[in-house]
Symmetry: C2
Subunit: 342 residues, 2 copies
DNA sequence: CTGAAATCTCAAAGCGTTTTAAAATCTGCC
DNA sequence: GGCAGATTTTAAAACGCTTTGAGATTTCAG
């Protein structure tokens, strides 16, 4: 059933039917009812491609996910973020389009999405410092919102980020208050903007208390379980091991816990651990006291908001870019305690 | 730059240019070269909507992800599966479209995708027994491939599944061979087809060795960390606790480990654990002996294959449905050992 | 009644492709 | 030089919608 057939059935022109369906004012209320009823009855929905061709918009939003061929890593955060964004899209009548591409082809992917008119805008994931995608997208004139930020670039674009510097500063201060002096940082890849900000917060807290950050206590890498495990073991086996770990992801924190267990150390007593917690749905521990003390910020909620920001931006292209900074919550769990006496 | 402008620049008709670009034989080789060069130079790519409208296909594949409003869970497997499928789509020039919808709206989502012509086919995720989506899609005449299977339905549709019954049977036998007699099963939600098959395999192995499956040793639920933790604690606190756990997901297995640790039990010595491992990229433990003994099957690889099956199906609609059954590998790690003497 | 304003409806032109049916151009052979 | 047949190119018609500009019809003040 297409528009032509539907209007024939109703003895109306395609124009009138189209207007009735799209809520234009110049159609009598009774006619509109009749059209809406018939559309419902005949199960009519406008063809998306034809509509898109006529209106020049696709009502779709792209997410380009670069996969490095070296470390076939899918960010564990991805699923929850997508779920959040997807909720918003469903609500607003947008489609979500995901392109999984090799790292080096990301730029070409954006160009292609734009030129072929496949999407009305894109979300930028995992920004690095001076991320080249941002000027590229500005140049392409393709609306976008960044999940995160890219230091080093003019801030004239829309983004939503967690206050990473602040939250890691607070977490470090919390450990310092508990008497810890040797605090290790297991961070994400240095190139990622969020990792740099977290490190800055960590180092700031230390220097403000007169402690010189020890580069040997800072490890960064892909945030896997194994990275947490190996990183922790390596540091624990030093002559002067850390008494506390600040970890950038829940998954790596699980690796740290495994390392502690293996060395016969009790988490929260012998060694303290704070992790960043993206509130992933499959890691929620229910109502009781959480296992890990953490800086907590729901990535799903971020997805919801980022999607909404982009939709707003598409519908009002001339509005100034919007920036949102979320504060992470410090949740005290059972993985932290006073520093053991030396 | 559109086709009209491009052909004007070349002093050719749109037809010729279109044919040259799409590899039709009735165009002189020299002309084709000229066209291809110009397309490259002027950065021309055909508008996807217009092309779709003309050809009647969207070159997009839909994934409907139902989110239950009760337990806002995103399957942790999702990310890796999508990454695998996305690789195939990129290679074959398809777009991937994801719809996140409330559980009850899944049916309407499929109908809408079909009627609006948004996708050429869909992947069905997480099938249940007698899953109503399968007859629905057959009825809608929308090509689909199921990741998993739905027992109870005529098998005249395409699917790719892991041999869940067999792999859990083997895992159970492995534990029996190690002398375990009280083996608990921490399974996924009973309604899920894969969970039923795993249970069948587990019970089959037990009965074949003359052991009556104890329903009290079977727990099923959403496969979170907390579920593994609580389930294990509950069973461990019985007068006759299990000496081994068979767990349906890596994440829940981490919860089991936490429970063991809390009760002062050594995994692999006091209590054995086998988990199913979907080879999620962020849980790979590198080259060393894996922490968990597991039944292993890469869900990412499944994604790649399922996507290819669907693309094949779309291009050859009259070919008979295809079925693929993958065997999981039993990988022995450090979480299993001989049953302790009573 | 009349004529202007307000309301409703319509035919037709676009959106950027593919594809059909037909026309133009070439090739080789008598 | 002319003609059949093959090769290459073309104009125009879809595809299914929105939107423009204009034509009907109704309403109502004067």
């Amino acid at each position: 059933m297409n528009l032509k057939e539907l209007s024939a059935k109703l003895n109306l022109s395609q124009t009138t039917v189209s207007r009735a369906l799209n809520g234009y004012p110049e159609v009598k209320e009774e006619t509109r009812r009749r059209v809406l009823d018939a559309a419902e009855r005949y199960n009519y929905l406008p063809n998306a491609r034809a509509k898109g061709l006529a209106t020049g918009r696709s009502h779709a939003i792209g997410h380009v996910i670069p996969i490095s061929s070296k470390h076939e890593m899918v960010n564990p955060i991805f699923g929850d973020f997508i779920a959040g964004a997807g909720e918003t899209y469903s609500k607003c009548g947008y489609e979500m389009l995901i392109s999984v591409v090799e790292d080096e082809q990301a730029e070409e992917a954006y160009r292609s999405l734009k030129r072929r008119g496949v999407v009305d805008g894109v979300i930028v994931h995992g920004p690095r410092q001076d991320d080249p995608r941002i000027p590229l997208l500005q140049d392409l004139d393709l609306p976008f919102v960044v999940h995160g930020r890219a230091s080093g670039l003019a801030p004239d674009y829309s983004w939503l980020d967690v206050n990473n510097r602040r939250s890691f500063q607070r977490a470090t201060e919390f450990l310092l208050d508990l008497g810890h002096r040797r605090i290790a940082l297991l961070n994400g890849l240095e190139a990622m903007d969020f990792a740099a900000r977290r490190r800055a917060g960590y180092e700031l807290a230390l220097t403000e208390r007169g402690i010189n950050p020890d580069p040997g206590f800072e490890i960064s890498g892909e945030m896997t379980e194994a990275m947490g495990y190996r990183g922790a073991l390596e540091l624990l086996d030093r002559p002067m091991p850390p008494t506390a770990f600040l970890v950038s992801s829940m998954i790596s924190a699980l690796g740290v816990r495994r390392a502690l267990e293996e060395r016969g150390l009790r988490m929260g007593a012998d060694v303290s651990v704070i992790t960043h917690d993206d509130a992933l749905s499959y890691f929620t521990t229910g109502a009781d006291v959480p296992l890990f003390t953490s800086t907590r910020s729901s990535v799903r909620d971020a997805g919801r908001q980022v999607a909404q920001m982009l939709i707003d931006r598409i519908s009002m292209p001339d509005a100034p870019p919007q920036q949102v900074l979320l504060e992470a919550e410090l949740m005290v769990g059972r993985s932290t305690g006073p520093a053991p006496a030396d």
